[in-house]
Each structure stands twice: as C-alpha cells, then as structure tokens.
Assembly symmetry: C2
C-alpha cells in the first residue's frame, strides 16, 4: 500500500513536471490502438495477414517524445527496411541458384558478413549520431528476409507487405506526433538555451547580494532556500549531452513556428558551449560563497561597488540574451555597444583605480587571495559574457531573427504572438527542465538589484533527479543594460573554446 502511494506520488510529480508527458502517453496509446485495428478490420487483415504486426512493432519502437526523434527513427526505419529488403531478396536469389546443399551455408555467410560489417559501421561517430537506428533495422530486415526466404517462395510479396506495414505504422506515428500537441525538439533546444541563460543570469544578479550580505542574515531557512535557488546553475554544467541529443533530433524536423528546416542548430551548440564555460567559472565562484573560510565583511566591502556592478551587469546582459532568444529578435548592436562601453569601462576603471590606490595593502594575504580570486573570476565571467553575446548575435543573424523595434517596451505590447510556448525538455540524463510561457511575455519587470519577482508570464520548473526536487517560479525581466570588461585586458578562456566548438561541430 505504501509502495502504491509512492508510485502515485512519483507519477503525479513526473506528470506535473511536464504535462506533455501525459499527452505523449495518450498519443502512443492512440497510435497503437489505431494500427492494431489492422487486425480487426477484415479487408486490411486479408491484405496483410500476420504482417500487420510490423505496423504495431513500428509504432512501439518509432514513436518518440519529440517530432524530430520520431521522424528520424521513422525515416531511418523506412529507408533501412527498403534497402535491406532489396538486398535480402537479392541475397536469397543468389543463394537459391547454388543448389540446396550450399544454399544454407551461403545464406549464413551473407548474414554473418552483413551483420559484422553493419555492426562495425555503427561505431562511426557520424553514423552513430544520426543513423544508428537505421543500421540496426537494416541488419534485422536483411537477416529476416534473406533467411525466412529459405522457407517461403513468396519472398517478394513478403518484402512488399512488410515494407507497406512499416510505412503505415511509421506514417501514423509521424502524423499523430505532428498534429496532436506536437513536441518539437528544436523548440525545446531553443528554450533550454534561453533557460540556461536565465539560470546563469539569476546567479550573477543574486551574487552580489549573497556575497556581501548573506553572512549577517539570521534566518537559516531563508538562506538555505536562497542558496539552493542560486545553485540552479549546476544543471548547465552537465547539459552537453542533452543539448546534443536535441540538436540531432531538431535536424530532422520540418519548418515549424519560426524555425526553418535548416535552422542553425549547430550555432546553438556553440552558444551552449560558451555558456558552459561560464558555468564552470560560476561553479568556482560559488565555492567562495559557501566556503567555511569567510573573508571579513569590512575587507569585502572595499571592493563591493565595482564587484556588485560587474556581476549584476553581466547578469543583465545574460538576461538580455535570454529575452532576445525568447522573442527571437536581434538586440540592435548599437544599444549593446553603448551600454557596453558605458558600464564595463566604468566598472573596470573603478576597480583598477581602487586596487591601484593600495586599498588591499593592509589586508591579510589569505584574505586578499580569496578576494582577488573572486575579482578575477568575475572579470573572466564578464569577458566570457561578451563572447556569449557575440555568439548570440551570430546566432540571431544565422537564424534570421527579426530586428528589434526602436522603442521596445511600448511597441512590443501589441505584438502578442509569442515564440516560446509550453516546452519541456526530455533529457537523456535524469534532470528535466520544463518551461512554460504565456503568449504575451512583454511585461516590463524591472529588477535593478536582481530582486526576484514572480511573474505570471514565465514559469520555470526545475527538477534535478528524483530525490532532490525543486519546483519554483522564475522571474522574467526586460531590456536591461549590458556590459562587459574588455578594457581590463584581463585573462579569459577564449582559446579553450575553440576545441570545444570543434567537438560539437561534427554533426
């Protein structure tokens, strides 16, 4: 009984986390009930006989959560069945010419050779990424056709029936997945990227508060909650496999919404890689908030102003990128430039002046190390933020985002067609991100010091594994200034990225 209650709660949680899962389950049930009618409906059964089971099998195996994955598998399966069917018939014909003794030996050799070759080809990275399932079906169909032909003479008829049932099953899946509450992998990837921007932006905007003030806060529960909130950035650290899977699926998808067939999904991965670099720095930064070794507040206060500004400004620039993604509009480069020059230069100059004035001369060496590391990591993050912005700009060009209208806040109110709607992400790992947005997300919420305001138009539910669930609403903001810190000439991790980009570019 206890167990049943547990399963029930788990089910509720899984469904609540992403209601599209419930819809998906219904869609699969529908598709299966439909294709199994091939058995009940006499004319169809007379035509296909037991081969109707291939339609059932196709639906079970091909129907995936997103349209891209379903289409990919469906096309893989249909093409592989066709090719393998043809070759299987050929192999069978060839073997049958050789007489009854040699025939089984020859067939066994054919099966062995094609299975070994195809299995090996599955290890090729390019093949594995997109055609793994096709090769599997190729091995399966070739073996079944060539071997079963040993008994049946109507092998051509068999191959034909099998192919038609597979195609009927596949087409049912694809149609149902496209026309009933479709889940687009491309849309999900797009939202995941925007969500990752939000998460990092949240950390950076809250960082100042947490770093400079948290120590004298009395309410332990409150602090706990805020910190857990802050640590949401951790899902960005391990988002790579998820993003790559989504990008692979998205490539199969036809035009939908504002996403073209050849939408630049590769560029999404490039932006995501940069964002992950940022997250690594943030992870290091985070350890300085939670460390047992605390720098005295008066020491910290010496650099408070520029540090707060740097972190919140780069947080805002991330926010801007996120909004630009969500709206699929370019931030006009002029705006970025002005904000950038104004804020970054002043924050950096302030910092340099402060440091040059010998403000840290009387500070304990170990305190100084800890403090300057924070400084340095922040400078690093600010620089990376600039790269991220550039990368988003490239993405915006490649994806042909619309240009932003001049006076955004007033004019966008009228534009109520949203680009981002209900979009959860089904992940390979076990964390799951659900992002729900209303149609109109142009409310202007001002959060000058990173204050978290709950806004009805943007709901983010995060869940990291089953025993550590966090559900929360996430704020949405609009049009912040954007800054960076190039003038410092400080170190950054640019070189690192080249190899990472290379790693993601094989697709």
């Amino acid at each position: 009984m206890e167990k049943v209650g547990e399963i029930w709660r788990e089910g509720r949680r899984v469904g609540k986390e992403d209601p599209r899962r419930i819809v998906h389950a219904f869609k699969v049930g529908l598709a299966l009930a439909f294709v199994s009618s091939f058995y009940y409906y006499q004319p169809l059964y007379d035509n296909f006989g037991v081969n109707a089971m291939w339609a059932v099998m196709t639906v079970v195996v091909v129907f995936e959560f997103s349209v891209g994955a379903t289409l990919g598998k469906g096309i893989n399966r249909a093409v592989a069945t066709l090719v393998a069917g043809g070759l299987g018939v050929g192999a069978h014909h060839l073997a049958s010419l050789s007489g009854p003794t040699i025939e089984p030996i020859l067939l066994a050799i054919f099966v062995f050779v094609q299975a070994a070759l195809s299995t090996f080809v599955r290890f090729f990275p390019r093949v594995k990424a997109r055609y793994d399932y096709g090769i599997l079906i190729f091995i399966l169909t070739f073996s079944l056709i060539s071997v079963s032909g040993f008994r049946e003479d109507e092998i051509l008829d068999l191959a034909h029936k099998r192919l038609s049932t597979v195609i009927m099953g596949g087409v049912s899946c694809v149609l149902i997945s496209i026309f009933i509450c479709p889940v687009w992998a491309g849309q999900d990837l797009h939202s995941l990227l925007a969500f990752n921007f939000d998460t990092l932006s949240h950390f950076l905007q809250e960082f100042g508060e947490e770093y400079f003030e948290a120590t004298d806060d009395g309410d332990v529960k409150e602090v706990e909650k805020r910190r857990r909130n802050l640590q949401r950035y951790k899902i960005v650290l391990n988002s790579k496999s998820n993003e790559e899977a989504l990008a692979n699926f998205a490539k199969w998808e036809p035009r939908h919404g504002q996403f073209r067939f050849r939408h630049p999904w590769k560029q999404y991965l490039a932006v995501a890689a940069l964002l992950r670099q940022c997250a690594y720095r943030i992870d290091a930064l985070n350890s300085y908030i939670n460390s047992d070794f605390q720098i005295p507040t008066d020491v910290k206060k010496k650099l408070e102003e520029p540090l707060r500004r740097m972190s919140s400004e780069s947080g805002k620039s991330m926010k801007e990128a996120s909004i630009s993604l969500k709206k699929m509009r370019k931030s006009s480069s002029y705006d970025i430039h002005v904000d950038h020059v104004l804020n970054s230069q002043s924050a950096c100059k302030d910092l340099t002046t402060l440091l040059k004035s010998g403000i840290l001369n009387d500070v304990e060496p170990l305190h100084m190390i800890a403090l300057t590391t924070t400084v340095s990591l922040l400078i690093d993050i600010v620089n990376l933020t600039e790269k991220v912005s550039e990368s988003v700009h490239e993405l915006a060009s490649a994806a042909r985002f619309k240009n932003k209208k001049k006076s955004t806040v007033s004019s966008e109110k009228s534009d109520s067609v949203s680009t981002v709607r209900a979009m959860p992400i089904k992940s390979q790992d076990d964390h799951v991100v659900t992002i729900l947005c209303d149609d109109d997300m142009s409310h202007t919420v001002d959060q000058s010091r990173g204050e978290s305001s709950v806004d009805s138009c943007h709901h983010v539910a995060i869940e990291i594994d089953d025993d550590d669930s966090v559900h929360e609403k996430h704020e949405d903001g609009e049009m912040h200034e954007h800054t960076s810190c190039v003038s410092c000439g400080q170190t950054n991790a640019s070189d690192v990225l080249d190899s990472d980009n290379k790693r993601t570019s094989y697709n």
Copy 2:
C-alpha cells in the same frame, strides 16, 4: 572513389582506436549466423516455425558492446516478454468472453490503456535508467499477443514459442558476449576513472612547467603540441553521462576479475563527481596559461617554488590514486598521512610566509589579481585533491581492495597478475577512451618533474571527435608522495559536492 577512401580511413581509425569493436562486430555476426540456423535446421524449424524470427530479432536488438548492457537488455526482454505474454493471454481471454461484437472494442481499449500507462511509466527516472527497454518490450508483446490472439486460437502455444525463441536468442547473445573476448562495463568504468585521474594528474604535473617557462620557448610546434596534450583534461569535464551509463550497465554484470556482483559502482560515480569538480577548476587555471594577458615572468617567479610544488604534489597524489585504482590496492593510510603532512604543510607555509612578507606589494594590481587567482585555484585544487583521496580510500574499502604490501617496489614485481587489461570505453557522446595495459605494470618509472616517459606497459589512446583526433602514449608511474593543503584553511568547494553526489546517487 574519394568517398570510399575516406570511409576506409575512417574505418581504420575507428578500429585502431578500439580493436574490441572489430571483435564485437564479429561476435554479432556469429550470433546472428547461429540463430538463423534455426531456420535451416529442420527439427528446430518444425518446432518453432516462423517464430524463429524472434530469436533473430532478439539477437539484433539485445547484443550490445558490453556484457552488462547485453545482460541488462536480455533480462529486460525475457522478463517483459514473460509478463506481457501472460497478461496478453489474460486480456485476450477476458475479451473473448464478451462476444464477437464487443471483443475488438474491448481489445482496443486494453491496448490503449496499457500502452498509455506503460509509456508514462517510462518517464519515471528510476525506470528509465534501468528498465526502459523492458517496458518497451512489454508494450510490444502485450499488443501483439492480445491482438493477434484475435485470429489464432493457439495463443498459448504462440506465447510459449515466442518466449522460448526470445530466451534462446538472448542466451546466445549473453553466452557469446561473456565467453568470447568479453567487454565488461564495470572494468571500463574502473579504467575510465583511473584514466581521468591520469589526465588531471598529467595537467597538474605539467602545469608548473607550462606556467613558468612556456613563454620563452621558441618552438611554436612544440608548444602547440604540449598545450594540446595538456588540454586532454577537457574530456573529464563532460564525462558524466558516459560514467553513469557505464555504472548502469555494470550493475547487471556478474562477478568478473576482481569485481564482485555488488561492487560499489555508486562510489565510482561519487569519486568521478569530485574529479569533475577538480576539472572545472583546472579549466579556469588553464585559461591563465593560454591567456593573451601575460604576467611578467619576474612577477610570476616570486611565487614559483611553492606553486610548482603544490601543483606537482597534487598531481602526484592523483597519480597515486590512479595507480591504487589500477592495481586495486589500498594506499596505506600511514603513508598518505606522512607525505601529506610533510609536503602540504611546507608548501602552504612557504606560500603564506612569502605573501606575508609583502612580496607582492610592488606588483601591478592587475598582475597581482591574475597571480593570486592562480594561487587560489591551486589551493582549491589541492583541497579537492584531498577530498578525492578520501573518496578513493572509501571506494577502496567498499570495494575491498587489497592492502598494499610494505616494500612495494621490490615485492610487486613478483605479482604479475594485473587487474587492468585491455579496456576501451564505448561512449554515448563521441569521445572515446581506449586504455590498454600489459599484464605486468609494476615497473617503476620515476618522473620527478612530470616528464612524460613512454612506457610499454600502459598505453592510452584518446580521441575527441572525428576531426580532432589525438593519439598518444601516456606514461605510467609508481608510488609518488601525496600531498594536500588542509593547513591553509583555504576555501574549497566541498558544499558544492553534496548536491552533485546526491544527483548521482539515485541509481
């Protein structure tokens, strides 16, 4: 023709990278040729008829690269077929009681309900991790049995035949995968962890050299090569999904070599998570080597001695952990303690003294920031290294590693039974790690300043994606001292790890 040459080269590369892939391809071919003999061999065919195709299908779908994955899929498939077969027969019986008009409607409802429910259950994280394939087969078998029963009366016979052919196919796969050149996922996970230790150790041991001397090195190609070598740590950053997949497979595996059935695979993931934390810090550190903004050498030199010692000592401690893993022997805690006290305290004290002496007082603020960040990240890494050592120690206890003999260098020569043998890792992502070791890996190689000596007993081939391949031999060392830096009381990322461990502990 060009294309064929390219495919050929790619094939050679894939095969060379991990020769076990070629063996695997042959094993699959063999298994398929074997089960397809069910068609040729008259007595078997008389018994099973077309149901023999389920054996072929099972082999194609179940045979995976590692024993664990094959066993997991095989058991999933057999159990799911059994349960779904039983329920399918029940559903069919129930429906047939209701008369010919209602029967198809009732059957369609059954199929719909079980497909929707099962599909939803597949979203449960625990189920997804281990039983995803089982549920898929459950849906498939239930639908086929209950529906096809609509036509055939010998449904029990059908279910029985299907189950026996599935079991025969599954057993063939499992036997072939265990007895012909087995690939153990557990062994692979073990080696991957040791390899990750080696990679980070390599970085840390080379870091001093690179940071303090590389700038005045003339040979661009040489520098390039060294840096690329150094950046191998990057595969550790994204190793999470790979490790989790291997751990999931490993749980299915029976006792093999020194791995018990209930080997503490979870602890491997915990160590790996800590190691990843280290890699994030190293990534930040790495950006200071490659940065355009260079600190003048004379400034760097001021802290050279303690920094070099800290990085190389923690590198050596990683190396020790890697060796302890490879040999599956505990490092005796006494040794660790002595080394630890001696080296860490002295390096940290030296550093503190240096800093307190005001050695950085006349340094440019921005130079100081960059330098102290390096210091701080290194202290962070040293502290993490200590945690990693503890975690490895826990792993050694949980996995019941043998205790190290007193005088290691001389006595281990006689112990020529190695625990680590040929072990490549098949990854979900596209990077691949191949680790090949000889039986006897007890040579003592001394590499005091992290010099890379090519040693026949240990070969590591790394490949990151298809267009960025690096093949190289990797050194193997023995019995280095081990150090850490607790006495500094410096900040570290401990708190961060709790949540990460939680994330990996759901399995």
